[in-house]
């Protein structure tokens, strides 16, 4: 075992590969939060009055709320007055082509391995690159608009499509939902908005790379995706963040709405800075993600690969309102060092013959703690509802923890609900078998972990699956034991 431990240690000591700070002039709001700041954000973004009022309403409600403490994570209290709620790269004139994008920015993306041009030319992915809080470049917009697809930043949507925004914003995650969602409703900076009209199948994967940059800036993204009747869309969200010493709060809200026969596939790869070996720095990722299957035969599928963040705390859920609607949740959550993850899903079955599948794979290494917390609720009218949940945990090392908290609430006798969970470690036999065939311990662990996660990776779009595998092996570095 000693060589294994050494390999692990070596790997564990490797530094975060995406840690760098881009030097761009920022146009920031002063620290702290009050009504003036909210008005400042709203004014800065040139928002209409109804939006400002909505923000203020949320803020007033937020003041009456208490920060939740039930989750299985520990962190020092957050001082909400010590956060800069708005930071944007200096406003410039609208950009029409890539050449106009700030070269500093382009470099940053290149370091991350996602050069805009290449993406644009080769992969056919329309990238809505969010750099801190403002979208700086949106590609393939024209092609999408030919089909009537709206894919733009949230601020543009508020200006150009107020009816759609008014109708759907806050309809899945109301501004009163929870502490962090309410905070987000008050101060959200920007995010992505997508509307797929009736019967349109979005020809490419919509993608946004979020990147937190300015120091001490909480990033409050707001994403809204609407798939109208018979539409299909696959949305990718990927994140990396530079190295920081102070914890950064990220409280995003994602809302999905699927109408009759529509399908939304939402994939996330999250690799934010997790803090160093001693748990210093790192991102607090407190996200509210929820999808509503409003229509008949609609489908929402969440796939997430979570390897980063000091604390990950999110439960992408599906409200299965329409008859025969389908909810899916596939997750790989990997924690190392002192990372903490409390993640899972909520499947609320309301309509008849609704089905949901949950596959959650947790991997804990180092001194980390990884929890699965999920709710499956079958309402009294959900005739013939079906749920299958499986959550497996893999423990690497004897100082980490893996926990499962499944809640099953069934109100209908025609429903069938199954839940399974296992916890185990990589057996010495498996490692020995691979060693024997000339595969190093590190590669063996990688191989086994990748096999273990395959069920989830196969749900990811191709380009993402490759990146996810790479991410996982990076995160695994130094955790074999």
């Amino acid at each position: 075992m000693s060589t294994e431990i050494k390999t692990i240690e070596k790997l564990a000591n490797s530094e975060y590969k995406y840690g760098f700070v881009t030097d761009i002039e920022m146009d920031s709001a002063p620290k702290g939060l009050n009504e003036d700041i909210i008005r400042f954000i709203s004014a800065k973004k040139g928002e209409p009055e109804w939006m400002t009022q909505w923000r203020l309403k949320s803020y007033k409600h937020w003041l009456t709320m208490k920060e939740p403490t039930w989750q299985n994570v520990k962190y020092s209290p957050i001082d909400y007055q010590d956060i800069v709620y708005y930071a944007a790269p200096k406003a410039k004139k609208k950009l029409a082509s890539m050449e106009e994008v700030d070269p500093e920015l382009v470099k940053t993306f290149e370091k991350l391995g996602i050069p805009l041009e290449e993406q644009k030319l080769l992969s056919g992915v329309a990238v809505d690159a969010v750099f801190d809080s403002v979208s700086v470049a949106t590609t393939y917009k024209e092609k999408l608009s030919e089909l009537g697809i709206i894919f733009c930043s949230m601020s543009e949507a508020i200006k150009n499509y107020p009816d759609l925004v008014k109708k759907y914003l806050g309809s899945v995650v109301p501004f009163t939902d929870n502490f962090f969602a309410t905070l987000n409703s008050a101060v959200f900076s920007d995010g992505s908005f997508a509307y797929i009209p009736k019967g349109v199948r979005c020809p490419m994967e919509l993608s946004t790379y979020f990147r937190i940059n300015a120091e001490n800036t909480g990033q409050f993204e707001r994403t809204l995706i609407i798939a109208d009747e018979g539409a299909y869309v696959s949305y990718l969200e990927g994140c990396t963040a530079p190295m920081r010493d102070t914890n950064q709060l990220h409280a995003a809200v994602v809302e999905l709405v699927a109408l009759d026969n529509a399908t939304i596939k939402y994939s996330t790869v999250q690799n934010w800075y997790a803090g160093d070996v001693n748990g210093v720095g790192g991102i607090y990722n407190f996200v509210t993600k929820r999808g509503a299957c409003r229509g008949k035969n609609s489908k929402i599928s969440w796939t997430q690969v979570e390897t980063g963040s000091a604390i990950t705390w999110k439960y992408p859920g599906c409200i299965l309102q329409g008859d025969n609607s389908v909810g899916e949740f596939y997750s790989v959550a990997m924690t190392n060092n002192l990372q903490q993850a409390d993640t899972g899903t909520k499947m609320i079955h309301i309509g008849k013959n609704t089905r949901s599948t949950i596959v959650s794979k947790g991997i804990s290494a180092g001194k980390s703690n990884n929890s699965y917390r999920g709710l499956v609720k079958i309402g009294p009218k959900a005739e013939g509802a079906r749920n299958y949940s499986q959550c497996d945990s893999l423990l690497l090392g004897d100082k980490c923890g893996a926990h499962t908290f499944p809640y099953l609430e069934v109100d209908n006798p025609t429903a069938t609900v199954e839940h399974e969970a296992t916890t185990s470690k990589i057996s010495e036999d498996q490692i020995f078998y691979l060693n024997q065939r000339g595969i190093s311990t590190e590669d063996a662990v990688n191989l086994i972990v990748n096999g273990y996660c395959k069920e989830v990776f196969k749900e990811l779009p191709m380009e993402f699956a490759v990146e996810a595998q790479r991410l996982l092996s990076v995160s695994l570095e130094g955790s074999v034991g």
Partner: protein
Amino acid sequence: MTEVPEKEEIKNWYYSNFELFENSLNGQSKAPVHKIRKEAIAEFIELGFPTTKNEEWKYTNIAPLLTQNFKPAYLSNKISLSKEEVSKFLFTGVNASILVFVNGDFSNELSSLLPEAKGVKFESLRQVLNNEPDFIEKYLLKSNKTIDGFSALNRAFISDGIVLRVPDSTILENPVHLLFISGSDEENLLVQPLNYIFVGKNSQIKIIESTVGVGSKAYLLNSVTEIFTGENSVTNYYKIQNDPDTCFQVSRTLIHQERSSVFTSNVISIGGELIRNDISTIFESEGCESNLYGLYLADGKRHIDNHTLIDHAVAHCHSNELYKGILDEKARGVFNGKVLVRKDAQKTQAYQSNKNLLLSRLAKVDTKPQLEIFADDVKCSHGATIGQLDEQSMFYLRSRGIGTEKARSLLLNAFASDIVDLISIEPLRETMNRIILDRLHKVSL
């Protein structure tokens, strides 16, 4: 339904009863045990009864219990029962040493011991508290801590219960039957036994605990039982809850297992209006095995809640849990199983399974199987299912000329038999089989 009184009102009721209780002690209030009672009543006043905001009580609303006041049995008139009346509560064909408790008080006259049980020490808690002052320090103050309003209430009125001590290397062929008879025709009673069972090294014992009711008034049976199993001992614990619909029961069982001991419990709940069982096993030393089984059959408006906790505090222990439930009409079932594997508990094996059948539109089940694991070299799994009778199986039986009703009861019986068949006392198993079959829609096979 009558309205739930104010929290303060409920607390005052129990506090004023505590004062009555205190006065009735006649100078006994100087006894060391009274200090525990006083602390506990203070804790109760602070905590009150648990609400659904308490995570451990999330799915169990005790409002029906709060609409009534229960008089501590110690303060009410004693009821007298004859041997014949008691005998109908016994299990036919089971040859057992019988210990009878009427409203929590140990009754010498109604109890009978088999000659083989001679070596075993049976004492009432009252007796032990009088004779062994260090018992309080050693046991009462040690593990049975206040966790909620119910456990505080139990401690506040400590008066009687059984202290059963099986010496080392004693193997009892026949079971010991603890029969708790509660209820009265006069007033609602609060019955709160506190029991201690010690199983010596290399000893083997089978214990049947059954709870039944008499009288027309409601009662709240709030019991706490602590079991200490010695090295290499084997303990089988059967808990049969066949109370009338006027019964509320909150029962807490704590098991401390010493090296290589085996503990098996089998909880069968078929009565009562609101039942809550908490079973916690703590492995004090390596090599232990704990098997927790349970079956709950609920119809009407019954609410049956089973909570289990297995604390793998040390390495090399095995635990195994299987709870099955059949819920009909407006019944509600709750299962919360927690397996905690602590940091150094390597080579742990823990299995947990909860299966539920919902037979009616209004029946409801909430289940929460929970794993908390801090060690890596472990094999743990849990599973939970909720469903209805399999249509294919029904079709299979019906295609062979078996009527719907009969096919249904056959399948239900098969579902329940997984638990019932685990009862190792044959006559008890047969009796339970019959009772359950009767309950499953009274269809004879």
